[in-house]
Structure formats: structure tokens, C-alpha cells
Symmetry: C2
Subunit: 369 residues, 2 copies
């Protein structure tokens, strides 16, 4: 292989495919990036067997070929080279020479033959969604997936396409996040569980300035295609929890409150809450006023917030972390919190409907708290 490409583009492309390269792998070849010529351009691939990412950049191809290069070293070398043209030359023994201006690196590569192929997903694309919209859907939900490896299905998010609606759902047994949006759908409905790690990486790769992301699904895989980058992921197999059943349909009490003020108050209350057990903060909601308190061995805190209340008073307690994580992604000036009893879940929506719903289970307040 012998190619010439530009340092900036190559460095950026390495950064993208590195997100699918695991440093902890039992197959040493997977610590590498597959570099190969493809139709007079250069294709880079990273693959950890669950997630695969390939991206294509412009290059001048002098001689076709391929080689696998250690991902970390390759990334660091290219990042440190000057903003100029880079020549990569590789002989049949996988000796790689990287030249740029007055620098020359000689390193050992590996043969492509040992590198596992990405699964084949037909790219007669089924669905297309606005990049910024998908990025947002991920950002507003992915923090709510479970970190518990004994519940592998909950470490993924449900993607549900039903007619012209797309929903992304994450839940971990304590809270649930759903974001809905519209999608063009001439094909049919879909119900798949995508690993949370894949969605987090898509969120990082998508800048939001791209136009559309194309999505295709097979029985076992999903393909997300963003400009010159293809992200192929294994799906999680199993039946996702019937989340619609969990969300309360009605609520007795509606509280409207400024999002940022509530976030600031809870952040302060958390300073003491985290010293105690459960990150426990208590809400006391009465006409026009929300009082947030938290007690721990080191002291206690009292916060007052003006609210708009419909329905009766309530005293209820939550894990402050679960509240804060949602408030941070809410993207609206005011939210509406819906309560029923202090043992039933609270649902939170932006005051103006953005298709986002967050649900959180309260913590039972014992006499000791």
C-alpha cells in the first residue's frame, strides 16, 4: 500500500474509529486500526466485536493495499505530525513507513488477514433522522441506562419506531427517560435494543452539524451511517420491559418550577446529602413554595424555591443524583413535575412539550430520616 493524505483529516478519522478500539482485548489484533485503500480513497476501521466503526477519507492512492497499525501509536504519531501531507507506505511484510515533511517513522504493522471483518449490514437504508435530533435523543436518555452487568438488557436503550414516531427509552429500575421525535417511515415498525456504549459513541462522533443520519437494522445488528462514517453495532437480544405500563397516566399534583433554580438548589442540597446515605433530599411542597432539605452528620441545608402549584401539598424524598442528571439535560426554562403520593413515581416534563419525559421513583421517608 502507498497513499498520500492530509494530516488533519487522517488524525480526525483515527479519532473517530478509535472509539471502537478496545485497549482491553484478548485479541491483540483488535488493538489495531485497519488501514486500507478503497476505490481510490482511504478506509480506516476499528472493531471491538460489539461495535465497529469505519470511516473513509480522501487520499491519493499510489498502490492499493492494507495493513493493521497499532491504534494508540498510530494516533499519537499522526497527531504530532505537522499540518501537511502524510505518505504511508507499507510493503508485503507489513513494514509501515510514515513520512511527513522532515519526519519519518518506521513501525511494524500486522496483516489484514487476521483482522475480523465487520458484519455485513445492507445499506439500502431504511430510516433517516436529523443528526442533531438523534444526538439530542441520546444525550437526554443515555445517562439513565443501568450500569448493572447482571441486567444486560437495561445497559442498552430501546429504539422504537412506530409509524411516524421514533422513541428512545432508557431505564435502570430507579428512573426512566424517554425522548420522542418524528421520523419518515415508509417501511415498517422497529423495536430493537442498542447497547448504551454504542449510543454514547454516536453522541460523541456526531457534531450535530451533519445533516442526516441513516439507520438500517438486521436481526442482530444496527448500522448508523453519518457522512463518510459507518457505525455497526450488535443489538442486545431479548424483550425490553413494557415501559408504557410503568408511567403513571394521571397525577394529582402539578408543580411548575424554574429548571435552573431547581438544579442549583438540588446541587447545594446534594453537598450534604452525599455525606449521608442514599443521597437523600426531601421536598416539601406547599402553595407557592418548594422547600428542599437534606440532613447528614456534618450538618443540614434548607432551600426555598417559588413554584406554581396545582393540587394538594406533598412531602416526598428522592435520590438527588437521579434528579440532577435529568435536570442537566432538560433544555427548557421551566419544568412540570407531576406527583400523586409520596410512594408513587414522579414524572417530569419540560413545560413546553419537547417529547421528553423523565420518571423517577421516590425514596420512602422513614421516621429516622
Amino acid at each position: 500500500m502507498n497513499i498520500i493524505c492530509h494530516q488533519k483529516e487522517l488524525s480526525q478519522a483515527i479519532g473517530v474509529v478509535q472509539k471502537a478500539v478496545s485497549s482491553k482485548t484478548t485479541m491483540p489484533i483488535l488493538k489495531g486500526i485497519l488501514v486500507e485503500t478503497a476505490h481510490n480513497r482511504l478506509k480506516l476501521t476499528g472493531n471491538d466485536l460489539e461495535l465497529g466503526i469505519e470511516t473513509i477519507i480522501d487520499s491519493q492512492v499510489i498502490r492499493d493495499g492494507s495493513v493493521v497499525i497499532d491504534s494508540r501509536l498510530f494516533g499519537e504519531i499522526v497527531r504530532k505530525l505537522p499540518d501537511s501531507y502524510i505518505e504511508i507506505d507499507c510493503d508485503e511484510k507489513n513494514n509501515v513507513v510514515i513520512k511527513c515533511e522532515h519526519s519519518e517513522f518506521k513501525i511494524m504493522g500486522y496483516s489484514q488477514t487476521e483482522y475480523p471483518q465487520l458484519p455485513d449490514v445492507d445499506d439500502n437504508f431504511n430510516y433517516e433522522i436529523n443528526a442533531h435530533c438523534l444526538k439530542n435523543m441520546i444525550r437526554q436518555t443515555v445517562f439513565a441506562i443501568s450500569q448493572d452487568e447482571t441486567k444486560p438488557l437495561l445497559m442498552g436503550e430501546l429504539i422504537e419506531i412506530d409509524g411516524a414516531d421514533i422513541s428512545i427509552v432508557a431505564l435502570d429500575g430507579y428512573r426512566l427517560a424517554i425522548k420522542k421525535a418524528g421520523i419518515e417511515n415508509n417501511i415498517g415498525n422497529i423495536n430493537v435494543i442498542v447497547p448504551g456504549k454504542t449510543l454514547s459513541e454516536i453522541n460523541r462522533i456526531v457534531s450535530g452539524e451533519e445533516k442526516n443520519i441513516k439507520m438500517a437494522f438486521t436481526q442482530k445488528h444496527a448500522l448508523f451511517s453519518i457522512e463518510n462514517t459507518r457505525i455497526i453495532t450488535r443489538l442486545l437480544e431479548g424483550e425490553f420491559i413494557n415501559y408504557k405500563q410503568i408511567i403513571p397516566k394521571e397525577s394529582r399534583i402539578k408543580v411548575t418550577v424554574n429548571t435552573k433554580n431547581l438544579q442549583n438548589s438540588i446541587e447545594r442540597a446534594s453537598l450534604l446529602a452525599r455525606e449521608g446515605k442514599n443521597n437523600l433530599i426531601k421536598f416539601s411542597i406547599t402553595d407557592g413554595l418548594m422547600i428542599i432539605t437534606s440532613n447528614s452528620e456534618v450538618g443540614n441545608v434548607y432551600e426555598e424555591l417559588p413554584i406554581n402549584l396545582e393540587g394538594g401539598n406533598i412531602e416526598i424524598a428522592f435520590n438527588s443524583r437521579y434528579m440532577l442528571e435529568a435536570l442537566k439535560v432538560m433544555e427548557c426554562d421551566s419544568i412540570v413535575m407531576n406527583f400523586d403520593t409520596n410512594l408513587s413515581p414522579c414524572t417530569i416534563n419540560p413545560q413546553e412539550d419537547t417529547g421528553y419525559t423523565y420518571m423517577i421513583l421516590p425514596v420512602r421517608i422513614s421516621a429516622g430520616n
Copy 2:
């Protein structure tokens, strides 16, 4: 105690004194910040028994008093409070109430009586130096102190005031950094060793926009006074190495090279050097050309740089880290490297004299390298 002060100023002051609060201490009281009224203002003090920092801010004093408050918690609470006025009230049992707008914290403080006093250093100040200048002197030398606790004196820097010259010197047995500047001196000469940690903290506290820093010395302590902040440090006791003896007076070979280009080349060469032993990089200097190479198991690198050479050719090797750390603080377009033999130290100066000298010992090149 009962005072009112401004959140921004208090938060900033806590950040300053926290640099002298150790989280690892056998005396729990030292995890606190001493908060006390002083002449109608508020004084905060942090003290780890080696380094003490006190700073004074404006405040409205309603009732004089003092209390010690846990540093981490106090800092976090004040940082999270709104940009407004904060009232701190403390009763005789050291119960602290912190109020700001609609927030109220109650935490337990500790009595000042247990808090060790800072050493008394007379502030009839002896010396005065431009803040930006001192900051720079520290930045250009402090990285070269030893990290080896068996050589405690080398973990400090020599501050030498001799007539109208001030020098700061750091060395660790492999390299040496000296920065000289001018100082007004109507008092006398000084020769003290200040802990590197103290100087690093001064470097962090000084923004460079302050005007002057005042310095005073006693037998065992030094005091640096910067606007409303006083930094008091223990001195290291002993005799510093006679560094002047070590620096070569003459050199056979002079190389002038662009600082940034050399730094970039060495950074690239380091990528492979660090895979091997010693971070070893080799310089081959001939007329008009410096070639930098490095070999390791994973490959090798070759870098070419244009230079201006006076004197003969030389082949010499260095630990790349010791080279890079100096190049990063050099602050000049071109440097002059002075060599004699490949076993004798190399000295490096900015091409235009800024009072800075760096000296580095070469690594012996064996046949195996």
C-alpha cells in the same frame, strides 16, 4: 462571629488558602480553614505546618469572632451559592450558619483554639520583585527539582540574592535550571532553600497581573506577600550544592535552532523513545543539519532539522523528557545549545539573553543503543 461578604470574593479567597490545606493530615483541625474577623475585614487561613496561606477580603463585620470550617465542604458550599451576599454566623459552640438568598446551611465548625498559629515573620519587608517576573522565574525552573524524598534539599529551590541580582536554581542530579533577574537590594544578600511545593503554589496563586511581591526572610521561614495574601513557608535547612561549579564555562560546539521545531521533533521522537529504556533520543549534529533518531521494539523514527552550527560535529544522546520540559518553558524563538564532548553536559540558553540557563547531562551511548 457574624459577617456579610460577597460570594465571588469569598469563593476566590477560599481557593487561595485551600492550597495550604492538606487532605492527608494526622491533625483533623488542619483539614479546616480558619475564618476570623480582623480589623473590620475577614481573614481566611490555611496551614499544613510547612506552608501557611492567609488572605483578607472586604466584609461587613457585625460581630467579631472566629471559627474553623471544613475546607472541602466550605469551598463547595460557597462555590455553589449564587453571585450575591453571604452571611456567616457562628455561635460560641461553633455552630455555623451560612445564608445566601433562599439557601441556608447549618454545619459544625471547630474552635480556633486548636488551630496552630502561623509562624511570625516580620513584615518590614526586605525585598520587592515584580509579580510576573517571579512567576516566570518559578515556572522556568521548578520542574527541575528532584522528586526523590531521600534528597530533601533538592526538592527545594535555591533563592540567592547577591547585590542587585536574584537567582532561582533547581537541580535534580540530571539537569539544572537557573533563572536570573534584577532586584532592588538595599539590605543585604540572601541564600535560602524554599520547598518546591511552596513555589508551585505561589506560581498558581499569582496571576501575573498583580504589581509586586514583597519577600521577607527569617532564619527558618520566608514570607511572600501578594496584595492581600501572605504566604509563609518553612525553609529547607542545609547547604545547597555549589551549582556554579557544575556549569561548563566554555564549549566547543554551538548550535542555534528554532525552539518550537526542535520541541515538535523531540515530541515525535519521544513517542518511540518512551517504549524503550531511558526515553533515549540521539542527536547527530553536522554542518547545517541536526538529525534526531530513536529506536525501540515497536519501530524507529528519524527527524531532520536545519541548524546553525559553530564548531565541529557531534553525536550525543539525551533523555527526551529532560529536553522537552525545558523547551516548553523557554519562551524564545531560537535557542543556543552548547556542547563539548558527548559525555559532558549540554547547556541551553535562549538566543537572546533572558537570564535563563538550562543544563542537561547526556546519556552514554553504548554499542547496544
